[in-house]
């Protein structure tokens, strides 16, 4: 969204595919969790590739609604295919096992998810600095201008869509493995909105912004429990204040402030 400028409101669908892959694979297909995880990411990437080409021809809000429809459809499949997915109640997720070691403690998951986040961020940073990343930014600024520069706009939009779907699927798989439970709400519409909000609050067009946005939106409700019944009023108020006073997002706005002072 920040680099290629494509707004997706259905990313929770890919997140759900990753989560259900590590649940359905070991439970029904006998695939170990460590193999189900990349398989889920591959399925999400393949679906994004198949659906992306027609969807990404749409622009602006129409693209958002088309991706929203895709996300809702995926969530409906998870809800209705009860024999495989456990229906609205969801299903348990077997623990991740690697060479006889079972990842079950929060500390273990802290290291696994932390290291994966760093690797994911490094890949994203490298991608942004590559010719593909420059093509993304050109498309973000103007489709027409990018096309005149000889950039295959449809192809690069598709690359961005597939890559972000794979990221979402891996994140979904990790959440399901950590929780040991997955429900269709994992792929719900509000989850997609939550992801978009994280990206915007942290700062679009900044890798660190996504991390900061996620941290703020996960930590803030916990901190605001001190306000008891008023916590949601405070959360809404803080979101509005962030966007009014830091309209570019937390990280880019703070970076600009720091640059000005130096």
């Amino acid at each position: 969204m920040g680099f290629a400028g494509q707004v997706s409101l259905g990313h929770a669908g890919f997140f759900g595919i990753g989560a259900y892959a590590v649940a359905v694979g070991p439970t029904h297909l006998g695939v170990p969790s460590w193999a189900a995880l990349p398989a889920g990411a591959a399925i999400a990437g393949l679906l994004a590739f198949l659906v992306g080409r027609p969807i990404l021809r749409l622009r602006g809000h129409y693209l958002a609604v088309a991706t929203l429809g895709l996300g809702i459809l995926i969530a409906m499949v998870f809800t209705n295919e009860a024999r495989l997915t456990g229906g609205p109640d969801g299903m348990p997720v077997p623990r991740l096992e690697l060479f006889g070691w079972r990842a079950r403690t929060p500390i273990a998951w802290y290291w696994i998810s932390g290291v994966t986040l760093i690797i994911g961020a490094l890949i994203a940073v490298n991608l942004i600095e590559s010719p593909t990343g420059r093509a993304f930014r050109a498309i973000h600024d103007s489709d027409t201008a990018a096309r005149t520069l000889g950039i295959d706009v449809a192809r690069y939009k598709l690359v961005a869509f597939v890559l972000s779907a794979v990221y979402a699927a891996v994140a979904g798989a990790y959440l399901a493995l950590f929780d040991a439970l997955v429900t269709p709400a994992t792929a719900g519409f509000l989850r997609s909105i939550e992801f978009v909000t994280m990206a915007v609050i942290g700062g679009l067009g900044s890798i660190l912004g996504g991390v900061v946005g996620a941290a703020v939106l996960v930590l803030l409700p916990q901190v605001l429990t001190a306000f008891h019944d008023y916590e949601h009023i405070m959360l809404g108020l803080l979101m509005m204040l962030f966007m009014i006073f830091l309209p570019e997002g937390i990280v880019p706005s703070l970076a600009r402030l720091t640059r000005r002072r130096t």
């Binding site: 027609p54 021809r57 609604v65 109640d89 916990q222 949601h232 809404g236």
Partner: protein, 340 residues
């Protein structure tokens, strides 16, 4: 046939209400290029003010008028205090501001409704004539706990709402798997952060409240979808989109009821005419509002053909809801294609 008409007219009635919501979306979009995610909360505000004013003895027409005044005042305040200061920001920033506003308004509504319902329940129990008076203190504690639980469940974040079991079907909240895996959820830091409330058995009022919440969100989402289906940039498109969505949905529900539950109860085979009517309702609307676009957008024609080809294997009996979902998605894609 009378049943079909009943579904059609009730669908049109609700569709007209959604069309009003959609016109609101369109107005804001045309004026500022912003999709107002707090639109559903304004629907909720109108409903709540009308309800509380009517409960306080104000005649219904006056209560409705008061609701309009209050919603207008809140809208003005929102614009003056939140949207106006962010003038010049990107559209997506403004959208996030409206999401913040929606959480803010929901939080206020939660407090107001929780306090009102708790107070009325305690008043009822404290009534000396009531047989439940001896248990008033215990019930008050339970009511307070439920109130806290509900207002927390109003959180925007699905994580919180799910963990608190709000807004979910009864089958979800009381299902065996949910109980079995409750401990998995409670282990999460988030639950501990929220005070570690374990999910309590839901009071019927809680279920009603959750249903109301769902409808509230549904009104906003339906209005948004109606506006997008009709045409976001055109108020007339929004008006077409609202009634178009609702009768089709109403009839789809009827189809699914007949198809999955009541097939034996209805004499003959009612699925055929109802399904036929749903199809013709969709096609009529498509012809009326958007047909001229078909000629101008060859890509949309291709999309429609793809939709038809993709729909053919769906005629083979399989999960009924899934087929409906796929059809709705393909149809939505086709209509969006027509609009672009």
């Amino acid at each position: 046939m009378p049943e079909l008409l009943q579904f059609l007219f009730s669908g049109l009635t609700i569709g007209a209400i959604y069309a009003l919501v959609a016109v609101g979306f369109t107005l804001i979009y045309n004026a500022s290029d912003v999709i107002n995610f707090a639109q559903g909360e304004f629907v909720m505000l109108g409903g709540m003010v009308t309800f509380f004013a009517a409960a306080a003895g104000v005649p219904i027409p006056l209560a409705a008028l008061l609701a309009i005044v209050v919603a207008t005042a809140v809208g003005l305040l929102l614009h003056r205090l939140a949207i106006d200061p962010a003038r010049g920001a990107s559209a997506v920033t403004l959208i996030i501001i409206t999401i913040g506003a929606s959480i803010f308004l929901r939080g206020i509504a939660a407090i107001v409704s929780t306090r009102t319902s708790t107070a009325s329940r305690v008043r009822r129990l404290a009534d000396p004539g009531s047989s439940a008076a001896p248990h008033a203190a215990a019930e008050r504690d339970r009511a307070d706990r439920r109130g806290r639980n509900r207002s927390r469940a109003l959180a925007f974040m699905t994580i919180d709402a799910d963990r608190q079991g709000a807004g979910r079907d009864r089958s979800e909240s009381s299902g065996g798997a949910s109980r079995r895996h409750q401990h998995c959820r409670d282990r999460r830091v988030g639950v501990r952060g929220l005070g570690g409330d374990r999910r309590v058995r839901r009071h019927p009022d809680d279920a009603d409240h959750a249903d109301q919440l769902r409808r509230r969100h549904a009104a906003g989402a339906e209005g948004f979808a109606a506006a997008m289906l009709g045409c976001m940039g055109n108020p007339l498109g929004a008006v077409i989109g609202g009634p178009h969505r609702r009768p089709a949905r109403s009839l789809q529900r009827r189809i699914s009821l007949v198809g999955l539950q009541g097939r034996d109860r209805v004499p003959g085979d009612p699925r055929r005419p109802v399904r036929h009517a749903a199809r013709s309702a969709r096609s009529r609307s498509r012809r009326a509002g958007l047909m001229h676009n078909v000629l101008r957008h060859p890509y949309a024609v291709v999309l429609l053909l793809v939709a038809i080809v993709m729909a053919l294997p769906l005629l083979v009996p399989s999960t009924f809801h899934l087929r409906i979902a796929v059809l709705i998605f393909i149809f939505a894609l086709a209509v969006i294609g027509l609009n672009c």
